[in-house]
């Protein structure tokens, strides 16, 4: 960090000039008879004496300037002795593996593979940072407008291009039904690239084909038909020149038995039926409570107490409350509008992107059950009582049913109440939530065994997802879940900060703190001045 306020001391350079002039004026005068021994023969020396006085003046001025520069800790474009400097290494996947020996080295922690520069550099504002300056790690710094002038950047280069699998998604996966898995593949080369793709489970290759990938994002779909069960899939591609970490993508699929869904509603639930039918469910509409059957049920616009009797039903279901004043689980409130807070730490399965974009109108306040998601104002959005979810909105009449997020949202709600919820697709460092009646055990892709933290009744959390691959969750004997861990999609991008941005954040590429350097030069000047004055 520089301290430009010290530049205010620059007028002090006039001090040696004044001393020079005064000393010249006050020079001791000596009448001497034998001057001929000096004058006649030592003209060169006399010239040197005159020059020496000028040298001394320059050195003294320089000495003061150097002291000011040292106090201001001005930057210099090269490294000088700096014992306090720390080597900070970006160890994100895009940096590959870096071996640093012999110097105090600190590794920048990552989340989802993205380095956490902001908080880390704030704690250690002086040092050398080795990084590829990939944009994703600096978003927070740029957003906050923070500067780290004490950090010198050693920029690691990117490969010339990269093919990387950055995401996957699957539609409803039911037994005896074909389903589609979509993979998103990034081509960061400047031209189309042909690559070989292999989709396989743990034991056998499902698909193997060559594809030409256009520049940018490519969406590849694989149609599969699998029996009921838990599958650990992986898609591999060939890319020797690009990053290696994103050439393989892991994905977990839970193929379930096809569900029968019953919707209890006075009016025909047009939107719900359309959405659920599109998701390969067998949907049936009933008007009477007594007629409710099936693997799963929806109760639309609950406003009578007898409809709440279904809470005692053994099969899971979702209640959309209208909010009668005297129902035992809700209170009538005036119309409220709020957005939904994304991501509840206790219910990862309900983590739905883009849900927060929709302002939701609701008119009742759920007072019972475990709240899984909230509105932004703190009111409950989804509560859970046994194996039933309670929502304070009408899924049929609310605007949410017109939004593209509606079908994934419904699917997510149904999945969260279904068996096999321990199957997850997560990012590096993302906590893995586990529901288990017995104490579970986690087996990492490398075969290491871990025990997750218990955070509630039958709820556990595992935070050590430090490597890409499939984490297996067992109850001691059998596998009760799988988790596929991959890096963040942005880590595959060859997008680094521009020189201007680097200069803005770090105060110029390759510039070092110059305090020690300027002090050293000032010391040399001081010694030189003593030498010229013959004091040493």
């Amino acid at each position: 960090m520089s301290f430009p306020v010290f530049f205010l001391l620059f007028p002090l350079v006039i001090v040696p000039i004044i001393i020079h002039l005064i000393s010249r004026r006050k020079l001791k005068k000596i009448d001497f008879p034998s001057l001929l021994f000096i004058v006649k023969n030592d003209a060169r020396l006399i010239r040197w004496f005159r020059l020496k006085r000028i040298f001394l003046l320059i050195i003294r001025i320089g000495f003061i300037i150097l002291l000011i520069l040292a106090a201001a800790n001005l930057k210099i474009p090269f490294a000088f002795f700096s014992p306090l400097e720390t080597l900070i290494v970006d160890k994100s996947p895009s940096m590959g593996r870096i071996e640093i020996k012999g110097k105090k080295t600190l590794i920048v922690p990552t989340s989802s593979g993205i380095p956490q520069f902001f908080s880390y550099l704030k704690k250690r504002p002086i040092g050398i940072l080795i990084t590829d300056a990939q944009r994703n790690g600096f978003r927070e710094i740029l957003k906050e407008g923070e500067k780290f002038p004490g950090i010198r950047i050693k920029k690691a280069s990117f490969p010339e291009g990269n093919l990387g699998i950055v995401g996957a998604s699957a539609g409803p996966t039911f037994e005896e039904e074909k389903f589609v898995i979509n993979f998103k593949i990034l081509n960061e080369y400047k031209e189309k690239k042909k690559t070989r793709l292999i989709l396989k489970t743990e034991r056998k290759i499902l698909k193997e084909e060559s594809e030409i990938l256009k520049v940018g994002e490519n969406l590849l779909s694989f149609e599969l038909n699998l029996r009921k069960g838990l599958y650990q899939l992986s898609l591999e591609l060939e890319d020797e020149k690009g990053f290696g970490f994103d050439n393989k993508f892991y994905f977990v699929v839970s193929v379930q038995k096809k569900k029968n869904i019953c919707i209890l509603s006075d009016a025909y639930p047009e939107r719900l039926i359309a959405a659920l039918s599109a998701s390969y469910f067998e949907v049936k509409w009933v008007k009477e409570t007594a007629d409710v059957r099936g693997d799963f049920f929806f109760v639309c616009d609950v406003n009578e107490k007898d409809e709440l009797d279904l809470l005692r039903n053994a099969s899971p279901g979702i209640f959309c409350l209208q909010g009668e004043k005297n129902t035992s689980i809700s209170n009538k409130v005036p119309d409220r509008i709020s957005t939904i807070v994304e991501g509840s730490p206790l219910n990862g399965s309900l983590h739905l992107k883009n849900l927060s974009e929709i302002p939701v109108r609701y008119n009742c306040l759920i007072t019972e059950g475990e709240t899984l998601m909230y509105f932004e104002n703190g009111d409950p959005f989804i509560s859970k009582i046994k194996n039933h979810l309670i929502l304070p909105i009408s899924l049929e009449k609310n605007d949410i049913s017109l939004h593209p997020v509606f079908i994934p949202f419904l699917f997510s709600l149904i999945n969260s109440l279904s068996e096999g919820t321990n199957s997850r697709n997560i990012l590096l460092d993302e906590p893995l939530e586990i529901k288990s009646s017995a104490e579970p055990q986690i087996i990492s892709p490398e075969g290491d065994k871990y025990k997750p933290y218990r955070v509630g009744e039958n709820n556990y959390i595992f935070k050590e997802t430090k490597e890409c691959g499939i984490y297996r969750i067992t109850d001691g004997n059998t596998i009760i879940g799988l988790a596929a861990v991959n890096t963040h999609p942005s880590e595959s991008r060859l997008e680094s900060l521009s020189d201007e941005e680097l200069k803005y954040i770090f105060g110029g590429k390759g510039f070092e703190n110059g305090a020690v350097f300027f002090l050293f030069i000032a010391l040399l000047f001081f010694v030189l001045s003593l030498f010229l004055e013959r004091k040493i």
Binding site: F32, P33, L36, D42, L45, I46, F49, R53, R534
Partner: protein
């Protein structure tokens, strides 16, 4: 000995008293009378006049003639000394005592001593030319004249020993002992040449090279503006850096005088202004003995 230190004696105002103290102190320390070897010679009788000292009456002649006669002696003056004192500006150098003041006191002391011994003493004050010339006389009251001239003069003018002596040579009629008091700040070759001329004219020459300690060791500390005492040239000098070079050149300068004067048996005495006068007088006495 302490009393004969130049800085102590300098506090005594009159040159006469200073010279007396030096000579008496010097003689006391010597334990040997400088009068040995010098005698007085009878010249004639003269009648006694009122006021003449009674002890000078020749009683034997009174017994024969019954008249009072006094013996009249003629001093045996076997030496004519000429004190040549350089009064140029460069002789004014010195911190506690200047070279000129030292040389002046030394010359006065020698004059006193010589006159005590009935030698005749003359004085020449010069810079680049002769400023004062007092012919040699042996009378004691001549001392007043000498000391008066010495007291009146202060350093001035440029040094040119060769020119001054060249001018002086025709004025010295008698074979003399020429005692030169000078800092010799002139081209040694020229000075040696003119001294050799003096020697060739049968004069004895003693050279008292008057120097200040600082001229020898150049023991100045701080960078200073040095001004030449004769031509007023100024120059900024760092003494520490020049010291060795200066001393080398100055020693060469002294050596050239020593080596240049020795072959002609010309006595050269280096006198530094912080040494007591008696040492300088001893040098003289040794020389005088040799001459006698």
């Amino acid at each position: 000995m302490e009393l004969l230190k130049p800085e102590v004696l300098e506090k005594i105002r009159t040159l006469n008293l200073r010279a007396k103290i030096i000579v008496k102190g010097f003689l006391t320390g010597l334990h040997e009378s400088p009068y040995h070897g010098f005698s007085l010679e009878f010249k004639q009788h003269r009648p006694y006049h009122k006021g003449d000292p009674i002890n000078k009456i020749n009683w034997k002649l009174y017994a024969r003639t019954e008249r009072f006669y006094l013996k009249k002696y003629q001093a045996e003056t076997n030496l004519s000394a000429l004190l040549l004192l350089d009064k140029s500006n460069s002789m004014g150098f010195g911190e506690k005592i200047s070279k000129f003041h030292y040389a002046r006191t030394l010359a006065a002391s020698l004059a006193y001593l010589l006159l005590q011994q009935n030698d005749s003493v003359g004085l020449v004050l010069f810079d680049s030319k002769i400023e004062s010339f007092i012919p040699a006389r042996s009378k004691m009251n001549h001392l007043k004249h000498l000391l008066g001239t010495l007291s009146k003069n202060e350093p001035s003018g440029k040094t040119s020993i060769s020119d001054a002596i060249f001018q002086l040579l025709p004025l010295i009629k008698k074979r003399s002992l020429c005692i030169l008091f000078s800092d010799l700040l002139e081209e040694p070759g020229k000075v040696i040449k003119i001294i050799n001329v003096m020697k060739a004219k049968k004069h004895e020459v003693i050279v008292f090279h008057i120097l200040d300690r600082k001229e020898l060791d150049f023991s100045f500390q701080d960078e200073s503006l040095f001004r030449d005492m004769e031509d007023s040239k100024t120059i900024i000098v760092d003494p520490k850096s020049l010291k060795v070079l200066y001393k080398n050149k100055f020693n060469q300068f002294i050596s050239s005088y020593r080596n240049g004067l020795a072959p002609k048996r010309i006595d050269y005495f280096q006198v530094i202004t912080d040494i007591p006068y008696d040492k300088a007088l001893t040098e003289y006495l040794e020389k005088r003995k040799r001459l006698s």
